[in-house]
């Protein structure tokens, strides 16, 4: 069977990406710019912009002068590479071997693939259609050789399928640049009047080689797998396009998912059976994770039942872990929620989120104690799997005076405080969830109250400190200020009272906000 290759060309890759994110840009001329020698130079333009004869390499200011309605967005370095790599992974559905081609295309080894779609036409249409649905303009061509497919996708007319063995006839009327030669060679060919491939394809190879033969390899690109124009000489390119010389692609490898399967001969119905299955799966998975220096953050266990229902349980960890025993304990808590029904015939354990795990650090901290202790994160894992992670908090200071905002929950166990705790003023140990309204008797403005009634009990104030005025942070919330008093009643109980608003105001109110030790 002859080889078949499909090439996908994205004429507006980066601008399409921006249009997908901001749909209002679709009907506007759009260019991407990046700084170059102190000027903003256009690096990509969409179809509408190109229609107005805006080319890449122009200075953005010039283009803007010509077309004031032009939308200009800053380019992101490395965007094309990232996009193509991700698309190449996605394209594995069309062919097992996919390679990234330069900075605007993909090459698929479609040998023996297209018949699964019912022929080349439907294969190509499916690829085009799927990309269009995601908002990308693509041109797809399929041929026996990479060279021919590349030429057809970039320079060909609507016909994008070259029948097997027809590449030499198909290429005849394409320009010389379609052969993936460098700009220099293309210009020289053009100068000599050899504008189309048919003009020189029949020439003796030795004559072509003499004039356009291999250059002294001074700027030869040796990047693996990336096909760029201009790294081969003309004769090689002709031979590659015609299929006389073989060309290879370096397909991308998608990392195998962190997943383990355990099929069972007999359906499993008991909790002990499930336990054994989990242990086995974890053992294999953790061994692999350990070798790669990774740890599980979240994992899912799927149990495929005989009656084709799927039971699944999920666990999460605070720190990446590949400690099989610990992970098993987390699953153990959830086993009771698995309903085996008539039996489970397949267990599938998948680590849905994996992070780097450094075992070196673990040994350093083992004895040191503190929050870095692995045992604490293991404890919190098992707690959060039963009571929910939201109930577990660690607090760090925040730069706010308003009491409710002066602390914030820490994101992770390792997070350290970016600011210091404010300790100049006394703060109550117990803060009420919501300040509770109290009735008071206050003699003079800015003096602490004489007594107050809280929960139906009258408290006579003997000692007091204050006021401490805390203003509402107007950039966050509108409201009146609070005047806080630290008071002690005749029983020795200490409270944190505040008056909302000025004493002179008609509607000021007193609240109790906390209890001191």
């Amino acid at each position: 069977m002859s080889n078949r290759f499909a090439t996908i060309w994205f004429p507006y890759l980066k601008t399409d990406w921006f249009s997908v994110r901001q749909p209002n840009l679709i009907n506007e001329p759009l260019v991407l710019v990046s700084p170059d020698h102190g000027r903003m130079v256009i690096t990509a333009a969409n179809k509408l912009a190109k229609g107005q004869s805006i080319q890449t390499g122009m200075v953005a200011a010039d283009a803007k002068a010509m077309y004031p309605s032009l939308t200009v967005i800053d380019d992101r370095p490395g965007l094309a590479e990232q996009l193509l790599n991700r698309m190449a992974e996605w394209c594995i559905r069309f062919s097992p071997a996919v390679a990234v081609d330069g900075d605007d295309g993909l090459i698929l080894d479609a040998t023996g693939c297209s018949h699964l779609w019912g022929g080349d036409t439907t294969y190509v249409n499916d690829i085009t259609e799927r990309f269009r649905k995601y908002g990308y303009t693509v041109r797809v061509a399929i041929a026996d050789t990479i060279g021919a497919a590349w030429a057809m996708s970039r320079f060909g007319n609507d016909k994008c399928i070259i029948e097997s063995g027809q590449q030499s006839t198909a290429l005849l009327y394409l320009p010389a640049a379609a052969l993936r030669i460098d700009d220099d060679t293309a210009a020289r060919l053009n100068k000599l009047g050899l504008r189309q491939i048919k003009d020189f394809i029949g020439m003796p190879r030795s004559a072509l080689r003499r004039r356009f033969g291999p250059k002294v390899s001074k700027q030869r690109r040796t990047e693996g797998g990336k096909m760029g124009t201009g790294d081969e000489d003309l004769v090689t390119r002709i031979n590659q396009a015609l299929g006389i010389e073989e060309e290879f692609i370096q397909p991308i490898h998608s990392p195998p998912p962190y997943q383990e399967r355990l099929p069972c001969l007999e359906p499993i119905v008991t909790a002990t059976g499930i336990e054994i299955a989990i242990q086995r799966l974890l053992e294999v998975l953790c061994k692999r994770l350990k070798q790669e220096g990774k740890g599980i953050r979240t994992a899912v266990l799927k149990c495929y039942r005989v009656d084709s229902k799927i039971e699944q349980v999920e666990i999460g960890t605070i720190r990446a872990s590949h400690h099989a025993e610990h992970l098993f304990r987390l699953f153990e808590l959830k086993i009771s929620s698995i309903e085996p029904g008539l039996g489970i015939e397949l267990f599938l354990l998948e680590a849905t989120k994996v992070e780097d795990h450094s075992s070196l650090q673990e040994t350093i901290w083992k004895s040191a104690g503190g929050l870095q202790d692995e045992r604490i994160s293991e404890l919190l894992d098992s707690l959060s799997n039963r009571i929910g992670a939201g109930a577990i908090r660690r607090y760090l200071p925040a730069e706010h005076y308003w009491p409710e905002r002066s602390v914030r929950p820490a994101i992770s166990l390792d997070e350290i405080a970016t600011t210091v705790w404010k300790v100049e003023r006394p703060r109550p140990l117990q803060l009420l969830v919501k300040p509770e309204s109290v009735e008071v008797m206050a003699p003079i403005p800015d003096y602490p109250p004489m007594n107050f009634r809280y929960k139906g009990k009258l408290h006579k104030i003997i000692k007091a400190d204050g006021p401490e005025r805390i203003e509402q942070e107007w950039w966050l919330e509108q409201g009146q200020h609070r005047d806080y008093y630290f008071v002690e009643d005749d029983q020795g109980c200490r409270y944190w009272l505040f008056r909302l608003g000025h004493y002179d105001d008609v509607s000021y109110q007193w609240f109790v906000h906390g209890l001191f030790v």
Binding site: A368, G369, G370, L371, D373, E374, R375, I376, E378, L379, L380, S382, L383, R386, I387, A391, I392, R393, R394, Y395, L396, P397, P403, S406, V407, A410, I416, A417, W421, K422, V423, P426, R427, P428, L429, Q430, L431, L432, V433, I462, K463, A464, D465, F486, V487, E488, D490, Q491, G492, C493, R494, G514, L515, F516, V517
Partner: protein, 240 residues
């Protein structure tokens, strides 16, 4: 001969204490200085690696007990380490812990309404922790024994706050305390509120002597004070 007998008796007493969960402290840093209160405990050391129970009949007394625990925790966490604080009703305001010499980020707060005993036991089993504080109203003998055994095994000190307990049942905790807030003392009757003061009652202690003290938290440590001296009464008179 009598000297020999006395030696044997001291040795046996020590063995009995060890069997009951009191192990002499290995590290001196774990010593908690409670002043004269220390003489009430076996070996004259604040028992760590056991459970302490605090009966709180009012929310004021709950806060006062929390403060007393914070004072004890501060010397426990001096050399690093971490503690878990389980709450069911009260909300601890972390900045207040700073005045007790605790870095609040060393504490992990858990706020739950159910599974309290399970959470407390799991936390007590974790050897990486220094102490666990749990606010659990009802604890029966069996569950308190589970907590005590977990504590003795892992050497993690447990503090059980019992707000408004329905009944004062027997528990397996080593100590039972009651802490009530007291009027603070100011020097020479100066205005303002003084250092936190409590009436601390050690109602029950295994192999020790119960007692009652008036404690003040000042200058980063506990001080046993007598509040019936002149300055406070002077203040009283003025206020009344």
């Amino acid at each position: 001969m009598p000297a020999l007998k006395a030696d044997i008796i001291t040795q046996l007493k020590k063995d009995i204490l060890a069997l009951q969960g009191f192990r002499p402290l290995v590290h001196s840093q774990q010593m908690i200085n409670l002043g004269t209160i220390n003489h009430s405990f076996p070996n004259a050391q604040f028992p760590v690696g056991v459970n302490h129970e605090f009966i709180c009949n009012s929310s004021e007394s709950l806060t006062a007990s929390s403060g007393f625990i914070a004072g004890i925790l501060s010397s426990m966490l001096q050399k690093g380490g971490a503690a878990v604080w389980i709450n069911s009703s009260q909300i601890i305001f972390p900045p207040a812990l700073v005045s007790f010499g605790i870095d609040p980020s060393q504490l992990i707060f858990i706020h739950i309404k159910k599974d309290l005993l399970w959470t407390m036991e799991e936390a007590l089993k974790c050897e990486g922790l220094t102490a666990v504080v749990g606010e659990i109203a009802s604890v029966d003998l069996t569950s308190s024994r589970r907590l005590q055994l977990a504590s003795e095994k892992s050497r993690v000190t447990g503090f059980l706050l019992r707000p408004h307990p329905r009944q004062l049942n027997t528990t397996a905790c080593t100590c039972r305390w009651q802490v009530h807030p007291l009027q603070s003392k100011t020097t020479n009757g100066l205005p303002g509120v003084g250092f936190p003061c409590w009436q601390v009652e050690l109602e029950k202690v295994r192999n020790g002597k119960p007692g009652s003290w008036q404690l003040e938290w000042s200058n980063g440590k506990f001080q046993v004070v007598d509040l019936n001296d002149s300055s406070i009464s002077g203040e009283h008179k003025k206020a009344v």
